[in-house]
Subunit: 208 residues, 2 copies
């Protein structure tokens, strides 16, 4: 099955006309690891839909980062989505974490189709709502929870997501997920280890 058909199936695009349009204007692209898909302060010209691979989306300033979310196959980057409906610069960054297969749709069509095709409307709306609710959660978390709680929550959700008690991330990667410094992460993890909550290895954390 080719990538376009994969896409149609995954997001339930049955309208033949829409399939034709996507096939015609959608640009299939294989992007290497560690490539920027969306970059802060740059204009967005495409909506990227991830078919294979994994893209990390985050906010950052000079020396800090905080994760917004990961885009996994057959999700779309709602950020580019938001920027897609108006003609403006990105306020976020997105970068491939593995080699990634994308289908790129010119922004102009994204909103056009959302009124023309029901399945496209549903796809964009759903994507948007999911990111919005995620962001709300993260916002509240940031506003009211301490770093140690945020870290533990993150580890637990990773563990749950991967169905494994072992998390293979370095301390600095963790710091960049939750918006703090490497030293804080080391300090807190060590305390968790003393508390018997987890055990530490090289680039490896095991929840007990």
């Amino acid at each position: 099955m080719n990538e376009f058909n994969q896409l149609f199936k995954a997001i339930n695009i049955s309208e033949e006309q829409l399939q034709k349009e996507i096939t015609k204007v959608g640009e299939l692209q294989i992007v290497p690891k560690n490539t920027f898909i969306v970059e802060q302060d740059k204009y967005i010209k495409w909506l990227a839909i991830v078919i294979n691979g994994r893209v990390r989306v985050w906010q950052g300033n000079e020396d800090r980062q905080i994760l917004l979310y990961y885009v996994n196959p057959i999700q779309t980057c709602a950020l580019s989505l938001s920027a897609t409906f108006r003609d403006c610069k990105s306020v976020i960054n997105a970068k491939t974490e593995t080699e990634t297969t994308l289908i790129k749709i010119p922004v102009r069509l994204v909103s056009e189709w959302s009124f023309k095709y029901k399945s496209w409307n549903k796809f964009t709306t759903d994507s948007f709502i999911i990111s919005y609710e995620d962001l709300l959660l993260s916002h509240k978390n940031l506003a009211f929870n301490k770093v140690n709680k945020r870290l533990l929550d993150y580890l637990k959700s990773e563990s749950k997501k991967n169905r494994s008690p072992i998390i293979n991330l370095s301390h600095s990667q963790l710091a960049n997920e939750i918006g703090t410094t490497r030293e804080m992460v080391s300090k807190i993890l060590k305390q968790f280890e003393l508390d018997g909550i987890l055990s530490l290895g090289f680039k490896k954390i095991e929840l007990l």
Copy 2:
């Protein structure tokens, strides 16, 4: 001009058919000051559009709050919007700050119309995008800026919004806007006054 016509004009609803539908199912309601429109953990059954008045939307836990945004006339609550597209509980609170005139639309129709009527599609999409981008900004702010900077930014934006250097808010109100405690606000404001950035009065802050 009645409230429905106000609405049609403000958000550019020209389709006669949509006007008819809104008039038929939309419920005009005048809500007193300090009434919850949306409440955390409760189901949302209506999309509320503010015609007159002002609604505050925030996140909170037991003892703290942080502002999400205000809904001013002819805006809609994008939160209820988000919850509107799926059938789920609210993660936020919204309360009138003045007597407020609302038009309430049953949630089922909100997504239905977004595909049926172009102007409705544009209205909901735009509302959504604006809140999303606001929230992104606030998220980054929370992640990377200290309380004193967040407070000063807030004061400046209030001042700009109201076109006046004077802000009539109490310290505890400010604390609930930016997600900190009353004492922090008092402390920081006093420091700002010593620095000659502003002057303090009773429920009154003047930016210099």
